[in-house]
C-alpha cells in the first residue's frame, strides 16, 4: 500500500467498513510513514493508526459479573401507583425544566405585584406642594361645563387656597397649584 492508497482508504471508508486485512495494511503503512500517520490523526482516521477492530469484545464473564452484582442489590425502586396511573399520559421529557417554570412564575408575580402597587400609589396620592399637580375630579366633571370649572379655579386661586377643599357643588378638588 502506498501513501495515495492509504489516504484514499482513510478518506472514503469508515472504520466499520474495513475488514481486518485492510486495517492491518493501513496500520502497517502508517507505522512506516509519519506523514500518513499525521493525516490519519487530523482527518479522524485514528482507527487506521491503531489497526485494531472498531469494537473489542467484552470479556466472556462480563454479563454474569454484572448480573451477580445486580442480584446483590435491592430491586430498583418500583414506580409509585401514581406513576403507574399517569405514566402513559406523561410526556417523555418536559419541554422546560421545573427551575425555568419557577423562575418565570416568580418574575410574573413580581411584575404583577409591582404594577398593582404602582397603580395604587399613582391613583391615590399627589404631593400637595408639587408645582404642577393635576386636578382630580369625579365623574361629575363630565357633567359640568368648562366655564363653571374655570370660575371655580379662579375663585380658589384668588383665595390662595392650597388645601383640599370640601365638596363644592358636586365637584371634589384634591389640590392644585397654578
Amino acid at each position: 500500500m502506498d501513501c495515495r492508497q492509504c489516504r484514499d482508504v482513510i478518506r472514503t471508508t469508515q472504520s466499520h467498513e474495513r475488514d481486518d486485512a485492510l486495517c492491518e495494511a493501513l496500520s502497517a503503512h502508517c507505522r512506516r510513514c509519519p506523514q500518513c500517520a499525521r493525516f490519519a490523526i487530523r482527518t479522524g482516521g485514528l482507527q487506521a493508526l491503531l489497526g485494531e477492530p472498531e469494537q473489542q469484545a467484552a470479556p466472556p464473564e462480563f454479563t454474569r459479573g454484572v448480573m451477580a452484582a445486580v442480584s446483590g442489590l435491592d430491586k430498583p425502586a418500583r414506580t409509585s401507583w401514581l406513576d403507574r396511573l399517569i405514566g402513559p399520559l406523561r410526556a417523555p421529557a418536559p419541554l422546560v425544566s421545573l427551575r425555568q417554570v419557577t423562575a418565570v412564575a416568580a418574575l410574573v408575580l413580581m411584575v404583577a405585584t409591582g404594577s398593582l402597587l404602582l397603580q395604587r400609589t399613582l391613583g391615590t396620592r399627589f404631593p400637595t406642594d408639587s408645582p404642577a399637580t393635576t386636578i382630580a375630579a369625579t365623574t361629575d366633571v363630565a357633567d359640568m361645563d368648562k366655564a363653571f370649572l374655570d370660575e371655580l379655579v379662579r375663585r380658589h386661586q384668588a383665595a390662595g387656597v392650597v388645601q383640599p377643599l370640601a365638596e363644592d357643588e358636586g365637584m371634589r378638588l384634591v389640590s392644585y397649584n397654578y
Binding site: R38, I41, L49, L50, A57, F62, A69
Partner: protein, 200 residues
C-alpha cells in the same frame, strides 16, 4: 446485514421499560446489547484492561440503580456513555491522587536486622513483549491515555467509537461547539505527543 436503527431503538425502549419495572432478564439483555461498546470505550480511555472491566461493569451497575431516573431525554446508549465517562474521570482522579502520595522506591526498609535495600520484583516483560510494546499501536494508545481528561473522551468517542457530535454533546453534557473545538485540540495534542515519543 446492518440492523435497522429504528427497530433497535424500539427494542431497547421496550427492554428499558421492562427493566425499570424490575425485570432483571430485560436488564441482562441490555447488558448484552451494549457491553462491547462500553467496554471498548472504557479500555481505550484507561489503557488498562483490568480496570476497564471493573469500570465497565460498574457502569451497568450504576445504570441499573439509576433506571428509575432515566426519562429518555437521550438515548439509552448515550446515557450509558455518560455514566461511563463520569466513572472514568473518577478513576483517573483517584489514580492521580495515588501517584501523588507515592513513597520513594529507593528508600530502605527498616527490619530487625537493620536497614535493607528495598527489593522490587522486576515486572518488565520479556524481549518479545518488549519489542511488541514499542509498536506504534502501543505508543498511540499510551498517547491517547495521556491526553487531558477533557479532550480524551471526545477523541475516543468520535474517532474510535464512531459517535456523532450530538451524541457526544449529550453524553458529556456540553454544547456542540465545545465538542468540535475539543476534538480539534485533542487531535493536535495527540499529534504533539506522538512527535515527542518519536512515532511521527
Amino acid at each position: 446485514m446492518a440492523k435497522d436503527p429504528q427497530s433497535s431503538a424500539l427494542q431497547t425502549s421496550a427492554l428499558v421499560e421492562r427493566a425499570r419495572e424490575g425485570d432483571q432478564r430485560a436488564f441482562e439483555a441490555l447488558v448484552d446489547l451494549y457491553k462491547d461498546k462500553i467496554y471498548t470505550y472504557v479500555s481505550r480511555m484507561l489503557h488498562d484492561p483490568v480496570e476497564a472491566q471493573d469500570i465497565a461493569q460498574d457502569t451497568f451497575l450504576r445504570a441499573y440503580q439509576s433506571l428509575p431516573r432515566f426519562r429518555g431525554a437521550s438515548s439509552f446508549q448515550t446515557w450509558l456513555y455518560r455514566i461511563a465517562s463520569n466513572l472514568v474521570i473518577d478513576s483517573v482522579r483517584r489514580r492521580s491522587r495515588r501517584q501523588a502520595g507515592a513513597v520513594s522506591l529507593d528508600a530502605p526498609v527498616n527490619t530487625e536486622d537493620g536497614e535493607l535495600a528495598r527489593q522490587i520484583p522486576d515486572e518488565r516483560r520479556g524481549p518479545e513483549q518488549l519489542a511488541e510494546s514499542t509498536a506504534v499501536q502501543e505508543q498511540v494508545k499510551q498517547a491517547i491515555a495521556r491526553l487531558s481528561p477533557k479532550l480524551r473522551p471526545v477523541l475516543v468517542m468520535y474517532d474510535l467509537q464512531g459517535m456523532s457530535y450530538q451524541e457526544i454533546a449529550q453524553a458529556l453534557g456540553c454544547p456542540l461547539g465545545t465538542v468540535k473545538s475539543r476534538l480539534f485540540n485533542a487531535r493536535a495534542q495527540l499529534e504533539e505527543l506522538l512527535e515527542q515519543s518519536q512515532v511521527l
